[in-house]
């Protein structure tokens, strides 16, 4: 038997085992609180098992999964985001009978499983399967609100069609890459001869990844889907799926210099993404749509660091991912804490009028998170954006830096606009009743502390975690090895 030849990172094992335990528990008796608890325990187990693995790869073969510090780091970020999202949705799921709790917990688990599988994958097959598990779980999560079912269904439909299209393009690219190199190793297709097919394969895979990452010009679905989804699910789309696909992008290209045609293609995408995201955010009156557009812009900033190999790159990408995750999660947690059943749920910016006088804790923490997203001290976002600019300066990307500065100024306008709305006078009708929600208070407090501490002492987070520069892939696949042996 070949079981001892298999290699499996332990977090994946924990997540799949947890999914099965949850299924058994649902089959026995449906209970929202228990399903959510099992989900939470599973996430904590996955977190505790980070860095371990089951089995070992036989020497000389290419395994399906890879475990290095980059994968571990993104796995931790994804699982931590999932824990936060579970806490955000706890109130709605456990206390509001209009929500189907068990399915949501189950789909949250499988979605996280897919994302973690993508992060750990070193081969096209686990990458694609993870991508699809994540996408299909998201589909159910997006349409999970019974009260606003038509909106949810519309969002889910848009997501289904566009995600299917991008998956098809990505799969076509992977097929072309396999045709050229004869290997399913997840890296740039490099082979002697046929440069045209190599370029086509790379660009098709890249288009698929950009679709999922919602870089402009493939961004149109993101605001619509996030608006139709419940707030915690919108956070899931903005965090978990983006971290997973971004970590795969870095794994695919490695950290070395990009091929020539990429050097001219990437800057165009980056400029479009930063300007497109920020300009679109200016017109939004919905808070979730605004966050969607701001996340598009942040993807653009991150891509600048991907394009600038050098000494700073690795640490900067690490800290930027942490900063983006903590700040955006904080904003979503505060939106969840603001909303209450039967009242404005905080997804419209107008709902936030006068929050400084009615609920000062939420207003102060939200201001801090928004300032961090805009890149103003003392938030962690300041140092992260500073690092991105430093990498750009190191490689002398003048045009990109100018675009980044322009984008940040536009961003400042719409982030500060929300703070301006909150300082206005409150209309007594719109003040929602206070409800006890200890888990959200704890979550918001913890995220605030992370954002402030990370902003004051960023050096601890500056760690070079990126995978080693891409080398020519070994032309030996597991399939071939098994057939010959």
């Amino acid at each position: 038997m070949i079981v001892h030849d298999l290699f499996l990172p332990s977090p994946l094992l924990a997540l799949s085992a947890g999914t099965m335990v949850l299924l058994a528990s649902i089959a026995w008796r449906r209970s929202a609180a228990r399903s959510l608890s099992i989900g939470l325990i599973t996430f904590l187990a996955a977190l505790a098992l980070t860095g371990r693995h089951v089995g070992s790869a036989p020497p000389g073969t290419v395994t399906l999964f890879i475990q290095d510090r980059w994968a571990d780091y993104n796995g931790i970020l994804i699982v931590l985001s999932s824990i936060s999202i579970l806490l955000m949705s706890w109130r709605d799921l456990a206390r509001d009978p209009a929500h189907p709790a068990d399915e949501s917990a189950l789909l949250l688990l499988t979605g996280t499983l897919g994302a973690v599988a993508m992060v750990f994958s070193a081969n096209y097959i686990p990458f694609f399967l993870g991508l699809e598990i994540l996408g299909i779980s998201l589909l159910g999560l997006v349409a999970s609100r019974r009260l606003r079912f038509p909106e949810g269904c519309e969002a889910a439909m848009k997501y289904l069609i566009l995600s299917g299209l991008s998956s098809a393009i990505l799969l076509f690219g992977a097929g072309l890459a396999y045709a050229v190199t004869g290997s399913l190793h997840f890296t740039l297709p490099v082979a002697a001869g046929s440069p045209g097919i190599q370029t086509a394969a790379t660009i098709m895979i890249l288009i698929g990844i950009f679709f999922k990452l919602s870089a402009v010009p493939f961004h149109l679905w993101l605001p619509d889907v996030m608006e139709g989804a419940p707030v915690p699910v919108a956070a899931f789309i903005a965090m978990v799926s983006k971290i997973a696909i971004f970590s795969s992008l870095v794994r695919f290209f490695g950290t070395g210099h990009l091929p020539f045609y990429m050097q001219s293609l990437m800057p165009a995408v980056i400029i479009l993404t930063i300007l497109g995201g920020n300009l679109q955010a200016l017109q939004q009156t919905s808070f979730t749509r605004l966050l969607a557009c701001s996340s598009i812009a942040h993807v653009g900033y991150l891509l600048i660091a991907v394009l600038s190999p050098g000494q700073l790159q690795s640490g900067v990408i690490t800290i930027y991912l942490a900063a983006y995750t903590a700040s955006t999660l904080g904003v979503f947690a505060i939106i969840s804490a603001f909303g209450s059943p039967g009242h404005p749920d905080g997804t419209e910016i107008a709902d936030w009028k006068g929050l400084f006088s009615t609920r000062p804790f939420l207003a102060v923490t939200l201001s801090l998170m928004l300032l961090s997203l805009a890149g103003i001290p003392p938030g962690i976002g300041f140092f992260a954006k500073f690092g991105i600019i430093a990498t750009g300066v190191e490689r002398q990307h003048d045009l990109l830096l100018a675009v980044l500065v322009t984008g940040s100024i536009i961003g400042l306008y719409y982030y500060l606009n929300i703070i301006r709305v909150m300082t206005g006078a409150a209309t007594p009708l719109m003040v929602p009743p206070r409800t006890r929600q200890p888990e959200l208070t704890v979550l918001v407090t913890v995220l605030t502390i992370i954002v402030i501490i990370g902003g004051l002492f960023p050096a601890r987070l500056l760690r070079p975690l990126l995978p080693a520069p891409a080398m020519t892939p070994p032309y030996q696949d597991v399939m071939k090895a098994s057939r010959s042996g």
Partner: protein, 166 residues
């Protein structure tokens, strides 16, 4: 051999284009069956008879029956005889039938060739597929089962809502 493979590939392409341009769902399904059959022939010519058989059994067989079943369930409003008259005009089935005959002819033409006469390097039999599925790729089979699980839960979840809305 190469010409035959290209011919089957062209039939796949024509079929796929026809699938997405038909306005009546049943006609699209007819074209889809031809597309899948042509794909199976491509697999067979590439030296993967097991994959070709699976393509025919699972996709052209089981999945298509499911499609037809769903289409019939969704079109319950009108009398059956009218519907069938409209669906089964010669114009609708002549094209798919022609292409399917072409594919059949291709298969009959290649039948006399022995496997070692062809250009295909080595035949991928059911044993090879099974060995790699339950050997190095067994974890992928497990991962695919999670994909199916999440698809099942999602579709059940959305479908149940629809029933309650009515």
């Amino acid at each position: 051999m190469q010409f035959l493979a290209l011919l089957s590939a062209a039939i796949t392409l024509i079929g796929a284009i026809m699938v997405i341009t038909r306005r009546v769902a049943v006609h699209a399904v007819l074209w889809l069956v031809v597309t899948l059959l042509a794909l199976a022939v491509v697999f067979a010519l590439l030296g993967a008879p097991f994959a070709a058989a699976l393509e025919v059994i699972i996709y052209a067989g089981a999945v298509m029956v499911l499609f037809v079943f769903v289409i019939m369930m969704l079109n319950l409003g009108r009398p059956d005889s009218d519907r069938e008259k409209e669906w089964l005009r010669p114009r609708a089935w002549l094209g798919p039938a022609l292409l399917a005959t072409l594919l059949c002819g291709e298969l009959l033409y290649t039948l006399p060739f022995r496997p070692d006469d062809t250009a295909a390097p080595d035949l991928l039999t059911a044993r090879d597929v099974g060995l790699s599925l339950f050997g190095p790729y067994v974890l992928m089979v497990e991962l695919a089962s999670f994909l199916l699980l999440s698809g099942l839960v999602t579709s059940f979840h959305i479908g149940r809502h629809r029933l309650r809305e009515r």
